[in-house]
Point group: C2
Chain length 162, copies 2
Amino acid sequence: MDPNTVGFAKHDHDHCISDAITAADRMCRDAGLQLTPVRKRALSILLEEHRALGAYDVLARLSEEGFGAQPPVAYRALDFLTKHGLAHKIERLNAFIACAHPNELHTPAFLICTTCHAVAEAETDPSHSLLSQIAETTGFTIARAVLEAEGTCPNCREKADK
Amino acid sequence: MDPNTVGFAKHDHDHCISDAITAADRMCRDAGLQLTPVRKRALSILLEEHRALGAYDVLARLSEEGFGAQPPVAYRALDFLTKHGLAHKIERLNAFIACAHPNELHTPAFLICTTCHAVAEAETDPSHSLLSQIAETTGFTIARAVLEAEGTCPNCREKADK
DNA sequence: CGCTTGATGTAATAACATAACGTTTGAGGC
DNA sequence: GCCTCAAACGTTATGTTATTACATCAAGCG
């Protein structure tokens, strides 16, 4: 298999899937969570595609493989994954993506390329963020933040410039 | 009419509606845009409610008043308003809200109270933002940013503390 | 007038998400 | 071992959000 693109850079894709699954296994064991077959498969589907996938896309794959065929099957697996930081929902796209930096506690920020539809997850330092500054001055307590930018990724920009 | 709450602070609500409509009128005239009856009414509905409203909520109000009753009626009006900065879509809520700072060119940030459902729009300086820093280091060109935080507003926090 | 463009209206359908309920399964107490 | 409970899973049905496709109408303009 050829190296694939993740975010906007190339990398060895096979490795990152198995690594991520292994890490998820360990994390769930340590936390006393059940990474059941559906949940694990949903995660691996997101990892294989390595892009934002709609719940129904995941559902289709799951049902092909003998799991339930109704929406709650996908939504429940995705809820579990997002709740425990193994995946994220991209609100702008109503779609889900495997977390690129599991383990670390983070407020992810996403860069969404409107040309090639790649999505990159960037790490942020929550305490320095704009939102936390705003929150501080207004007395608002943040429980969860959504940071998403749409635009053109370096690869597509380069192509467009030609 | 009693002063109402906007964002998390009190203010004179009647005034802000008429002011906002006047400003929108002028802005559209200057820009050669048509602030047609449906569009103007959609804006005033958002202003009156002063909270995030679903497209179908707006549609219901519009159709009661003799405008079309099908979803595109609302979506088209809301698209116009958001496209020209008179309203914003809150992605997390799949809902729309009148812009609190029209005229100014801005990347709005929203603070969403999960208790009382108030939504405050905060101004940001795009150039200092986290996202633009990330974008700069990765070569990504941002066209549009979504900044939304969910949590507890000062008012609800105060009540909860009692 | 005849053409184009943008706004509006409708019907139909697509895409996204949840409620409600029954069954299965596995861990822990007895 | 066996009972009980809670969590996970499956299904049906439904609710919510959004778009496609196409007809009509009015304004601007050669």
